[in-house]
Symmetry: C2
Subunit: 337 residues, 2 copies
DNA sequence: GTGAAAGCGCTAACAG
DNA sequence: CTGTTAGCGCTTTCAC
């Protein structure tokens, strides 16, 4: 297929290169009949502007990078990631940005990838998923001066823009719901404490207990890694402590835990009540339907994109902090429906 | 941070722009001491070449696009996609390509996205996931002359390069396994027939039955859409037909179906045996562990990337056809362990 | 082995 | 409203 240039179109339409450029970029000051004529030639010839040339001349690539520093396990197991990616991709389509994906799991990958994401002229900005590996990247990103936003709160966030949900408050709410409905031995399946998500959700749980004058029973706190299998194992570890309710830091872990409960011949919520976190499809499909905290994952992704575009267009100072709301969705698993 | 150019490095190192370019691109004919000197300056200054300028001058962007035309439901539910993406991303890292992601669900999205993926100078090549929407894109891609490879066989594949697994053979094998172990009423939960995957897997099932002299009982064939929920519903529809074994076209549907079996008070494999397809993590976690066809999803993604790079470097003619092997993994759910 | 010079295809002042 | 003119930062012949 032809490799037409602006010049060719200009010649065919009998105008100058600049005019064609103006038409293509929808600049206002072009006479209607000229615009028509140029458009027609463009349509007829199937001309597409060359992205690299445009980027070079305008210093704007209209590309955003999504960096996912992920241990393999949860990226595959947890529907959270596909949803987040979808939210981000959708927003990129909407704002006419192209999305690039940088997945990596190891330090080696990071060293290899960083030069690519920071090559000038490639990415207008970066969305970085928070996480242990990610935090090391933040410093590099800060000093590379490329606009970026973190999806989820990083541990060190001086001068860093991020989007997050109020995990403490949400977990507090979930735990309080169980307290208010008379449960007496409320356990939690927490996430690994190398992420702020886990730390915050654990904190919300603890705060709810102590605010209601309870003593914290360490045997009721077990750690998983956000996989279904880890929820299952965590519950097995929890059973001897005889909890009557469990707040799990993710739906997927709650589902694994409920599997362990059923296998032990107990019922949900009859013997043990459950509240999860996320409210993605699996939550509604489980048996019984899961009471959970709804995170606006899709909007969360979109908000990250919008914040990043704001950073690109308005400058990165001051850092933006966006906290999104969550909602307690009461279904059957907590026995209060 | 500084925005150094080749020119700056050249001046600092006391050489010409061309020499710096040669060093950066690892060309052979540069004197060792000069190379050293230049490298040192590059290191010291933290210089990164500008990607757009390089792309413009060399007509090579080192970017690959992954187009996922997906109905929302299965992209989220099925671990197949994250795995595929991971396989592709990993291979891109390895071959030093940057990966761009184009997700879309509707015709509108397609119209909006196509100009972006086909903008000259942006993508060196495209990986397209097969699927109903995708097939419309193939014609556009063919006439746009950009190298592309389809992940999964498309319905019309004249002149199209693709990577696929032998779904017919694999399903034949799965069904035959059930036949050989004495099951008499073998049902299938098929996929929607708008994809070759579904069609092929159904064909393998049918072929195994007829090759063994069986008559096909239409009441034993039910269609799902690769979601867990659809597997559940399909099984409910299947129960009155009293199957003693089920071949499901995906693990996720098998898991949904087994849930329906359990809920009906029946056991797996005691009352109904199961074989799935995929062998991704959920398969091994279910109760009981799922017998299934293992697809090399990760390698599949890598192979797609390698094929695409071959297309880019060696030309797109003739079209390449790669068929990958599968393997029957026998676990408990088929009762023959 | 190294440098000079000519683009790659587009944007964006600046004139007119 | 439209055309002219410089670049954007790099690669790549082609001389030397």
């Amino acid at each position: 297929m032809s490799s037409l240039t602006l010049e060719d179109i200009a010649r065919l339409a009998g105008v100058s290169r600049s005019t064609v450029s103006r038409v293509v970029n929808e600049h206002p000051h072009v006479r209607d009949d000229v615009r028509q004529r140029v458009w027609e030639v463009i349509q007829r010839t199937g001309y597409h502007p060359n992205a690299a040339a445009r980027t070079l001349a305008s210093q704007r690539s209209w590309m955003l990078g999504l960096v996912l520093p992920r241990s393999v396990s949860s990226f595959f197991t947890d529907p959270f990631f596909p949803h987040l990616v979808q939210g981000i991709a959708h927003a990129c389509n909407q704002y006419d940005y192209t999305l690039s994906l940088f997945l990596f799991a190891t330090k080696d990958d990071e060293d290899k990838i960083f030069p690519r994401i920071s090559r000038r002229g490639l990415m207008d900005g970066i969305i970085l998923q928070a996480g242990q590996l990610g935090d090391k990247l933040i410093d590099r990103l800060l000093s590379s001066n490329i606009p970026f936003v973190v999806a989820g709160r990083p541990f060190h966030c001086d001068g860093v823009s991020y989007v997050d949900v109020d995990n403490v408050r949400a977990s507090y709410r979930a735990t309080e719901h169980l307290i208010q409905h008379g449960y007496k031995r409320i356990a939690t399946i927490a996430g690994p404490d190398n992420s702020t998500v886990s730390v915050d959700r654990r904190e919300g749980y603890l705060k709810a207990l102590t605010d209601h004058g309870w003593l914290v029973d360490e045997s009721l706190i077990v750690e998983g890694d956000f996989t279904e299998a880890s929820g299952y194992r965590a519950m097995q570890a929890l059973l001897p402590a005889r909890p009557d309710a469990v707040f799990a830091a993710s739906d997927v872990m709650a589902i694994g835990a409920m599997r362990a409960v059923h296998q032990a011949g107990l019922t949900v919520p009859g013997d043990i009540a459950f509240v999860g976190f996320d409210d993605l499809p699996p939550a509604a499909h489980g048996t019984p339907h899961l009471t959970t905290i709804r995170q606006p994952v899709h909007k969360f992704g979109a908000k990250a994109v919008e914040t990043l575009i704001d950073l690109i267009e308005q400058g990165t100072q001051p850092a933006r902090r966006i906290i999104m709301d969550t909602e307690l969705i009461v279904r059957e698993s907590c026995g209060t429906h």
